[in-house]
């Protein structure tokens, strides 16, 4: 049932930078020839480091900015030139979740107004009472309470604010949500709550999600398919489990191996990348990754590699001339075990998971005696 909902073909976005009366502006190639398909009901993650063009791509998919060239369709309709009424309709079907829950909500509006505002635009026929009911329903959906409608954003924590942002995005009844780093501003424990919420909403409301992120571990829990971007291009694309188990592009391999793993004593096979991402104003010739690639050869400097099928899994492709040879010698980045948890720790993690699932715990009758209730000096 891989029914495409959103497609992009040869999408390009250039920005003019600098320039003056006497000087021609230079072209910043933020997104350069990107093609992708988002299928109904799936979550596609677009990952890459800062400056790779992922946010520009997201804004283009959302039609917040227009592409310089290329074609886009949404449910079969061409949208790359859409304007006016067509664009308004598109906004109802496609909504955006922003990264920073602190700056994306108007501090002067109550939560009720914030969530109700999109309803005024997209469902003007709704009576005030129905709108209030709908707002209450939306707040419940994202795990907030209807009583919260009269409060202001500053009264909420970061995670709760992101929930408000999600409720606002859901107000118009969209089919597709695009999240630009939706959890990266949140603390780990809260981040997990929002990741779970987005997964639940997707299932309950049959949504399609596009998630832009820099954190590979996060997108592993959020996505069905992954596209890896480097300097304006997609360098690797495939099913999530496949990308993590058998990455083929040397950039993906390096990216995976650079992530610190929260496990003690794990020996990692690191693929170190020298230097930093070059400027998209004057990108390297041929393969854009060749300036940092430990495997680069002459052909990489001359010839731009196209996305080629790896033949490992349906839809898994990598844009590298030599991925067969490179990957043959590469160790899966996540290999090598840590020193391992104690049995007691395992039991504690299991207890924690069960307690979260709602099973109550009580002190054991045979528990070792509490050593003479001597509170620590440090916590008076």
């Amino acid at each position: 049932m891989a029914e495409p909902i959103l497609t992009a073909t040869n999408l390009v976005r250039h920005f003019d930078v600098g320039g003056s009366l006497f000087e021609k502006p230079r072209k910043l190639r933020a997104v350069d020839d990107v093609s992708l398909t988002v299928n109904t009901g799936e979550t596609l993650a677009i990952v890459g480091e800062s400056g790779c063009g992922k946010s520009t791509l997201a804004r283009m998919l959302m039609r917040l900015i227009a592409p310089t060239s290329g074609r886009m369709t949404f449910e079969g309709r061409q949208i790359d030139q859409a304007r006016g009424r067509a664009l308004t309709e598109l906004r109802r079907d496609m909504q955006f979740i922003f990264q920073d829950p602190f700056s994306s909500l108007n501090p002067r509006l109550t939560v009720g107004r914030l969530v109700g505002e999109p309803l005024e635009t997209h469902a003007p026929a709704l009576s005030a009472r129905d709108r209030r009911a709908r707002v209450a329903e939306l707040l419940t959906q994202v795990g907030l309470r209807p009583e919260h409608t009269d409060r202001y954003p500053h009264e909420f924590s970061g995670g709760q604010r992101q929930r408000i942002g999600i409720a606002r995005a859901l107000a118009s009844g969209p089919k597709l949500l695009i999240g630009d780093e939706p959890v990266s501003a949140l603390d780990v424990s809260v981040q997990a709550q929002v990741i779970n919420l987005l997964a639940d909403l997707r299932d309950r409301l049959s949504l399609t999600l596009v998630v832009i992120a820099h954190d590979l571990a996060v997108i592993r829990y959020m996505s069905d398919r992954v596209a890896v971007m480097y300097l304006g291009r997609i360098v690797e694309e495939g099913p999530t489990d496949e990308i993590f188990a058998r990455p083929r592009h040397p950039y993906t391999i390096a990216l995976l191996s650079a992530i610190p793993v929260a496990e003690h004593g794990r020996i990692k096979q690191k693929v170190e990348l020298a230097g930093e991402m070059p400027s998209p104003i004057d990108p390297p010739s041929g393969c854009r990754f060749h300036t940092r690639c430990p495997f680069a050869q002459d052909r990489c400097r001359a010839e731009t590699p196209q996305l080629r099928d790896t033949g490992l899994a349906p839809g898994h492709g990598a844009a590298c001339h030599f991925f067969e040879e490179i990957a043959r010698d590469a160790v899966p980045p996540a290999q090598g075990a840590g020193t391992g948890m104690t049995d007691g720790a395992r039991a504690r993690f299991a207890l924690y998971a069960q307690a979260l699932a709602g099973r109550t715990t009580r002190p054991r009758a045979d528990a070792p005696p509490l050593p003479g209730a001597q509170p620590n000096v440090a916590t008076r």
Partner: protein, 340 residues
């Protein structure tokens, strides 16, 4: 040679920095912002203080450097030793002598900690001259030497660039060069890689580790990322709502965590391996100073909380410097499921 002006080793019998007790208050509130914080770091050792935003991990180190904004937080208790001597937080001039000399700090956002109006070479040279009686040209030579040491290519040319001309990773290298220019005995690094991409983060962590091995300095790394902790920590202190709830050697914290908060934090980390099950969470949100629960500060979010948790938790020891503040540690021996 500037590098020899400061003695770099401390007798191994005592910790380099020994924070025996540090409590901070806020206005008239009776609840302490930091409550009985205690940790120590030896020369050549890396201590990671890990916790989420607002837990007080940055505040505790700013307090040690005397960098807290005036009149906001009040020090209610401070018993600190640096190289075995009393380290007096109430003596600003003494703190100034330490700061940037034998105790250096690097911050999360290098762009806001560098002066945009001065060339980076001048800024490093200034740090050298602030603590050493050397000529301008000697200080400049030291700056160039430091830039080379932190892996900046063509240091002589980079000296004359302004912060905005450098990338985020390069700026953080400049910050490290500046911090280490006076051969500090202790480096405090507050989320030094959080603003950087993972491939650059990996380079910076390697750099800090190499420099530490070279100089034998002690390092306190403040971070929210357990992955970073696992990479570089010798010792770990887990902080929650102004209290160190668990601390110990890195191996003990990762392989035998005791405090429910540590367990919750580790459970909510998305992992690169293993099955992609639903992530566990820590329910609720961090309490504010007004809503701070009595007794155990984690009790308002702890899935194991019992009535006794409204009283101060005992410090339980699990061998080799591993302690946790919890009424029910070890959980597996103290608790059982009550509904089958």
């Amino acid at each position: 040679m500037v590098g020899q002006l400061v003695q770099n080793t401390s007798p191994s019998s005592q910790p380099l920095l020994d924070v025996r007790a540090l409590s901070l208050g806020f206005g008239a509130s009776e609840t302490n912002l930091l409550d009985g914080v205690r940790y120590s770091v030896d020369a050549g050792e890396t201590l990671c203080i890990v916790g989420e935003s607002g837990c007080g991990k940055s505040v505790s180190s700013l307090a040690i450097l005397g960098l807290l904004p005036k009149g906001v937080a009040r020090i209610r208790e401070a018993d600190i030793r640096f190289r075995g001597e009393v380290y007096d937080l109430s003596d600003p001039s003494a703190l100034r002598r330490h700061r940037g000399a034998d105790i250096a700090m690097i911050f999360q956002e290098p762009m806001t900690s560098l002066n945009p109006a001065f060339k980076v070479g001048e800024q490093i040279a200034e740090a050298v001259r602030a603590h050493n009686d050397v000529s301008k040209s000697e200080a400049r030579a030291r700056a160039a030497q430091m830039l080379a040491r932190v892996g900046i290519p063509a240091p002589e040319a980079r000296m004359n660039e302004y912060p905005h001309q450098l990338s985020g990773g390069m700026r953080q290298r400049v910050m490290i060069a500046m911090a280490l220019a006076n051969d500090p005995a202790l480096l405090i690094a507050d989320e030094p890689t959080t603003a950087l991409d993972v491939t650059i983060q990996s380079q910076i962590l390697d750099l800090i580790r190499d420099l530490q091995a070279e100089t034998g300095m002690g390092t306190i790394m403040i971070t929210h990322d357990l992955g970073v902790v696992a990479e570089i920590a010798d010792k770990v202190a887990v902080m929650y709502a102004g209290v160190i709830v668990e601390s110990g050697p890195a191996a003990a914290i990762f392989n035998d965590p005791q405090h429910p908060y540590t367990i919750g934090l580790m459970s909510s980390m998305p992992s690169l391996t293993g099955p992609r099950h639903r992530l566990a969470t820590v329910p609720g949100t961090v309490p504010t100073i007004e809503t701070m629960p009595k007794g155990c500060r984690f009790s308002s979010r702890c899935p194991f909380a019992q009535p006794v948790c409204t009283t101060p938790p005992p410090e339980r020891s699990f061998g080799a410097g591993h302690t946790a503040l919890c009424h029910f540690a070890p959980l597996d021996a103290m608790l059982e499921q009550s509904d089958g």
